[in-house]
């Protein structure tokens, strides 16, 4: 894990993009997705998902677009073994989003995020895997019920949140090759387009500019 409040960003031109086989979404509607989430919760407990903020240029973040409008960050649900939170003692019966950072469980979460990034953005061959440098966590969102609403804190009186979503900054190196599933589009969106644009991007993505405001961006020219 990289800890630094300085993020190096490189021009978009230093990256190469290819395509690979489509990765279809598992659900066709929001209702289906919430129903599947409920089933999974009964089997495995709270869902933890991790998502990555990949930056380039005068900061733009990379988003995956499904269909015509819906955008999401690369990432996804962790498998039960990768879930650091489940094994963490709750302090005073409250959900804390972190295991102590030098325990094996935090590393498992980092490895889980790398797995998700490679699945969504890397070529399938094992010798073309990018060296993902996972940075700091910048935001944590909680889902109290099987609904689409999420909050940046675990609401009071909620003792069993259904999902915890953690956003990490990922430091890209100067050259990378990304292979994007054919059914998805990879977009580079500048921070000023995300800020305050809840209708287009939702509350989680549209507030990323605030969460990145404490970093210093070091734009390295071509």
């Amino acid at each position: 894990m990289v800890t630094s409040s300085v993020v190096n960003t490189y021009p978009l031109s230093s990256y190469s993009f290819g395509t690979k086989e489509p990765k279809m979404e598992k659900d066709t509607s929001v209702a289906d997705r919430l129903a599947r989430m409920k089933l999974n919760y009964m089997k495995e407990g709270m869902r933890t998902s991790v998502e990555a903020i990949l930056l380039h240029n005068h900061p733009h973040i990379l988003l995956l677009q499904i269909g015509n409008t819906f955008c999401k960050l690369p990432g996804g649900r962790l498998k039960p073994g990768e879930n650091g939170i489940r094994f963490h003692l709750t302090i005073n019966d409250h959900y804390t989003p972190f295991p102590p950072s030098d325990t094996p469980f935090c590393l498992a979460e980092i490895e889980g995020l790398k797995r998700k990034l490679s699945s969504k953005l890397a070529a399938n061959s094992p010798n073309m895997q990018p060296n993902w440098q996972i940075g700091e966590c910048v935001a944590v969102w909680w889902r109290p019920n099987f609904e689409t609403i999420m909050y940046p804190y675990c609401p009071p009186h909620i003792s069993k949140p259904k999902e915890c979503k953690k956003l990490y900054v990922v430091h890209l190196s100067e050259r990378e090759y990304f292979a994007v599933p054919k059914n998805l589009k990879l977009l580079a969106v500048p921070l000023f387009e995300l800020y305050d644009n809840v209708q287009r991007y939702g509350p989680v993505i549209s507030t990323i500019p605030q969460q990145l405001s404490r970093f210093q961006f070091n734009m390295i020219p071509a």
């Binding site: 894990m1 990289v2 800890t3 630094s4 409040s5 300085v6 005068h58 900061p59 302090i91 005073n92 409250h94 804390t96 989003p97 972190f98 950072s101 030098d102 935090c106 590393l107 440098q133 700091e136 966590c137 910048v138 935001a139 944590v140 969102w141 909050y151 940046p152 804190y153 609401p155 009071p156 009186h157 430091h171 500048p190 921070l191 000023f192 800020y195 305050d196 507030t207 500019p209 605030q210 969460q211 990145l212 405001s213 404490r214």
Partner: protein
């Protein structure tokens, strides 16, 4: 901070767990108010502009201070007049460091006298907002137009001891506002204060002994 690969080296700066205490642990009293400058908007704009010409960008440092109430973190806010809410803090003097300036302002706004500078500022800045002009809204990124920003506001997390006296100037009211109320109350509190729950989401807030 250096970039280190492999395992995280916790140099103390990345301590993401912090304790907050019940509101009832703290004592509040008042002191004579600080008279604010009575000036017209035009005068203020001229004053800020001439200040900028001499000293450059104005930097404000503000403190995010939390207490526990009803098992939910509450943010301490100062209310001036009827609907102006501010975080404790203020403008840095030229050449003053962020932390020194913040401690000085906290002592002026929240302590009996200005020499009591015992405030614990946790880690680095948690969020930054820039204004490209004095009358515009703040944004959480540098204006891309290439103009230098006129104002910068930096937020810092301040840890309270388990008990403390707060002495507040009479012309200000000290409020404790729940995080769930700040979230999405931009019209009431403005973008900086209403965005604080998101900035704090990555921390593990430990509510001690209620």
């Amino acid at each position: 901070m250096e970039i280190m690969n492999g395992r995280l080296n916790n140099g103390g700066n990345l301590n993401l767990v912090f304790d907050i205490y019940p509101l009832s642990n703290y004592y509040f009293s008042s002191k004579p108010g600080v008279s604010s400058k009575e000036e017209t908007l035009g005068d203020r704009a001229r004053r800020l502009k001439s200040n900028y010409d001499v000293h450059g960008m104005r930097t404000y440092v503000e403190a995010v201070i939390l207490v526990e109430l009803f098992k939910h973190p509450h943010l301490l806010l100062l209310q001036a007049k009827n609907c102006i809410y501010k975080l404790p803090g203020g403008r840095l003097r030229p050449g003053e460091s962020d932390v020194d300036g913040l401690k000085r302002k906290l002592s002026t706004k929240l302590s009996a006298d200005e020499t009591q500078c015992q405030w614990e500022v946790v880690g680095e800045c948690i969020g930054t907002w820039w204004k490209s002009d004095f009358e515009t809204l703040p944004f959480p990124y540098l204006p891309s137009s290439g103009n230098n920003p006129k104002e910068c506001t930096k937020l810092y997390l301040v840890k309270l001891p388990s008990s403390r006296d707060f002495v507040v100037p009479k012309n200000l009211k000290l409020l404790a506002v729940p995080m769930c109320q700040l979230h999405e109350s931009r019209k009431t509190y403005g973008p900086i204060i209403s965005g604080i729950p998101q900035l704090l989401s990555r921390f593990a807030i430990n509510m001690v002994g209620s």
